[in-house]
């Protein structure tokens, strides 16, 4: 059960934190269509997070709701990947982060749709459709901007370089992962890698972007990584904003 709660928190927190990041763009995107698309993706992710965290609370059995988990945990209890808490920076950075995550997310949900746990399979079936659309969109934009102007190419390449070292964490296996794999609930994260590699290589190629190759990866040592609750300094600042009202007015209903 611990491993299951852990997996649900990881999956739900990824959706929550990335949704929070995307919503920072609201009203500031480079085109109206992007404002709409980003709000829509954020909305999908927040919706998924409600389901995953709701289930996490139910499985945990300590009476915590999705809102309790979202708004009353401090950074060290969050289990999202380092990738999704990276700051937005320029729009190319935001898109590249989205693409790298979407390509992983789709594989993860694809596997989750086939989970032996029907609660997971059910949520994943809904989320998978959204993720497929997100990936379609982010891959398309990565291609168009990579193979666009000289400036857009350079910005996408720079974004790729800045974010690449945060992708390794998606495919690390730990004891929780192994427990779920042994129980047939979810395959090992490392097993998702080949498909992700293929998608990424193909899109980068079409985008005329240079694949970063083997570089040092963040958060994959025993002591580190968002999956284990060791985050970057960014998450604390994000949570201070996100959780303000629940912290300042404990017990109030909204």
């Amino acid at each position: 059960r611990d491993a299951l709660v852990e997996w649900l928190l990881r999956t739900g927190d990824n959706a929550l934190i990335l949704g929070q990041r995307l919503s920072e763009w609201c009203g500031h995107a480079p085109a109206l269509e992007e404002d709409i698309a980003l709000a829509n993706q954020a909305l999908d992710l927040i919706g998924q997070c409600q389901l995953w965290l709701g289930l996490a609370g139910a499985v945990e059995g300590r009476g915590r709701t999705a809102d309790d988990l979202a708004f009353l945990r401090d950074a060290g209890a969050f289990r999202n990947l380092l990738l999704v808490e990276r700051p937005n920076r320029d729009f190319g950075h935001t898109l590249m982060r989205q693409f790298l995550f979407d390509a992983f997310h789709l594989e993860l949900l694809e596997a989750a749709r086939a989970s032996s746990d029907p609660r997971i399979a059910e949520i994943a079936a809904k989320a998978w459709k959204e993720a497929a659309y997100h990936l379609e969109r982010s891959a398309d934009l990565v291609v168009r901007l990579g193979d666009g102007s000289a400036e857009s190419h350079d910005r996408m390449q720079a974004a790729l370089a800045a974010l690449w070292s945060f992708t390794g964490e998606m495919f690390t296996d730990d004891d929780h992962d192994r427990a779920l794999a042994d129980a047939g609930v979810m395959p090992l994260p490392s097993s998702l890698r080949p498909a992700w590699d293929r998608t990424v290589a193909q899109v980068l190629d079409e985008a005329t972007l240079t694949h970063p190759g083997e570089v040092w990866q963040q958060g994959i040592t025993d002591m580190g990584g968002g999956k284990r609750g060791v985050h970057s300094e960014h998450l604390g600042h994000l949570l201070a904003q996100m959780q303000f009202l629940q912290r300042a007015y404990p017990g109030a209903r909204w």
């Binding site: 929550l16 949704g19 929070q20 919503s23 920072e24 609201c26 009203g27 500031h28 995107a29 480079p30 085109a31 109206l32 269509e33 992007e34 404002d35 709409i36 709000a39 829509n40 954020a42 909305l43 927040i46 919706g47 997070c49 409600q50 965290l53 999705a66 809102d67 979202a70 708004f71 320029d90 729009f91 190319g92 291609v143 168009r144 901007l145 193979d147 666009g148 102007s149 400036e151 857009s152 190419h153 910005r155 904003q241 996100m242 303000f244 009202l245 629940q246 007015y249 017990g251 109030a252 209903r253 909204w254």
Partner: protein, 311 residues
Amino acid sequence: SDQERAFQERIDRNEKIEPKEWMPEGYRKTLIRQIGQHAHSEIVGQLPEGNWIGRAPTLERKAILLAKVQDEAGHGLYLYSAAETLGVSRDELLEALHSGKMKYSSIFNYPTLTWADMGAVGWLVDGAAIMNQVPLQRTSYGPYARAMIRICKEESFHQRQGYDIMMKMCAGTPEQKAMAQDALNRFWYPSLMMFGPSDKDSVHSEQSMAWKIKMNTNDELRQRFVDQTVPQAEYLGLTVPDPDLRWNEDKGGYDFSEPDWSEFYAVIAGNGPCNAERLGARVKAWEDGAWFRDGLMAHADKARARRVAAE
């Protein structure tokens, strides 16, 4: 001229004017100004609410607010499209916004300071907007009327959501109730200003009404808004910040105080609490996004060239 007379007769018969049809220059210009300003209001209007998406108090409220702001961007899109049928591009309109030549609704130059403001904006600001927009579903210009029908449906949904936030706040802790009252205090008069200056001071009104671009006078709509809103405030247990507000049996409506019109003109002139920030945010978004738009265009050019080469 005969053409003008025939045009006016069509309008008087409640026929819809469609894009390719002849229209007086004044009609076209007035519509562009009005639709453009409305479109700008939708996109600038994302900002005061965007200020609280990151701090929405529950996941449900965050999702609702995101959906609402997404709708607003969508309304912007319909309205720019409607304006485009009059021969002005979205980029031209945006340039006029960024240079200060075109305006957006002044209400968005007020800050959103507490979560209750998300309620007040939905309840009062969207409420006032609907009051303006419902009659415009019957406006004479076809694309505009059709955009309005679509927009009104969503706006009234937003208004109910805003009122729902207010209900929760008013049924909540004393601090929440105080936030709700404070939000009403701050948004009441700016909402009344949304209908524009009093009829006697309003320019262009007569011609616009003849053309059915404007369907009611500012004062009519303002009265309707007050009459609708006061009982809602009472139901919430909130006090409208107007000591002179009272029911007038004779006219079958409320007597109420005029907003401070000098404030209205000051805000219009660029001196509201948030003018610089709102317009600055939009200009920055546009300038920071130039490389993105250029990149997409460069890609489209390349793709076209490749298609041509392949043929």
